[in-house]
């Protein structure tokens, strides 16, 4: 299998690569490119890590002022 993918081609396919949307041959070509190209691998890792880090923000709790809590209680009581 000839691998004629350039860095730019890999960048253009990055999202489909991470979403597993590519056919197996193209996926393999990108694997090979990343394995042989440290700058692209570095970029891939940083892009993927940002996506993974955003997942860690899931279900974060924030402080809410007591007054807001009281307003919510009043509002819901009025609606019931």
């Amino acid at each position: 299998m000839r691998n004629d993918l350039k860095c730019k081609d890999c960048f253009d396919l990055l999202m489909d690569y991470l979403e597993d949307n590519l056919d197996s041959e193209t996926q393999k070509k990108l694997d090979q490119h990343f394995a042989a190209c440290p700058p692209c691998l570095n970029f891939l890792e940083s892009y993927r890590d940002c996506s993974k880090m955003a997942q860690q923000l899931r279900d974060q709790q924030v402080e809410i002022p007591k007054e807001l809590e009281n307003r919510l209680k009043t509002f819901l009581r009025e609606q019931m």
């Binding site: 990055l14 700058p39 970029f43 890590d49 940002c50 923000l57 709790q61 924030v62 919510l72 509002f75």
Partner: protein
């Protein structure tokens, strides 16, 4: 969370009976996490408050439709997310700034090779749990994105929604949803890379 936490069944029954004590406890238990979810979609606290109020009311009004054998939190969160998106789509009159690819993408030579030296990225994604400053930088980077990019990115990366569902929720073609997620990620990556490079 308060020490006097009620169980799911007590909450459901209390909401059905319009028991004011249970409603107060329900607000204490769930308004903070729901507010956190809503703030991912709108940056404006007064808007978030209005959406939260409406979300809590919808939860109470729909409680009869909830399947009791499942966990109530994902169900409530889905209502909060759908409500945030509906609310924002209704009230937004103008489009935000477009993210141009060249602002955040790496540069390539004419023959398609990656240009220049990218600084060495060395972050463990788990660090964001332990490192409050990194978490705050990430949160700010996401929050600074225009609405059109922030919402699909949060739905995909934070909540794990499939692209098809994101496109449908936002009334976009799948290709557009993908482009926006990609550009949003590039912008977040660049902002975090600038922060990490400046720190190192």
């Amino acid at each position: 969370m308060k020490t006097k936490e009620l169980g799911q069944q007590q909450i459901i029954q209390g909401l059905k009976d319009a028991d004011t004590e249970v409603i107060d406890e329900f607000i204490q238990q769930f308004s903070r996490p729901l507010f956190g979810v809503i703030l991912n979609y709108t940056k404006n606290p007064p808007d978030a408050e209005e959406i939260l109020q409406d979300t809590l009311l919808r939860v109470i009004r729909k409680i009869d439709t909830f399947r009791q054998e499942s966990d109530i939190w994902p169900w409530m969160k889905r209502i909060a997310i759908n409500n945030s998106i509906m609310w924002l789509r209704k009230r937004r009159s103008s489009r935000g700034r477009e993210i141009q690819l060249e602002e955040y993408a790496p540069t390539f030579s004419e023959d398609g090779h990656l240009h220049g030296s990218l600084f060495r990225w060395s972050v463990d994604p788990e660090d964001v749990i332990l490192n409050a400053e990194l978490a705050s930088q990430l949160y700010e980077a996401i929050q600074s994105l225009p609405f059109e990019y922030r919402v699909p990115l949060v739905l995909r990366d934070t909540e794990g929604y499939p692209i098809k569902q994101i496109a449908s929720l936002l009334g976009l073609k799948e290709a557009t949803a993908k482009t926006r997620i990609h550009r949003g990620r590039l912008a977040v990556r660049k902002k975090l890379a600038d922060y990490l490079e400046g720190r190192g």
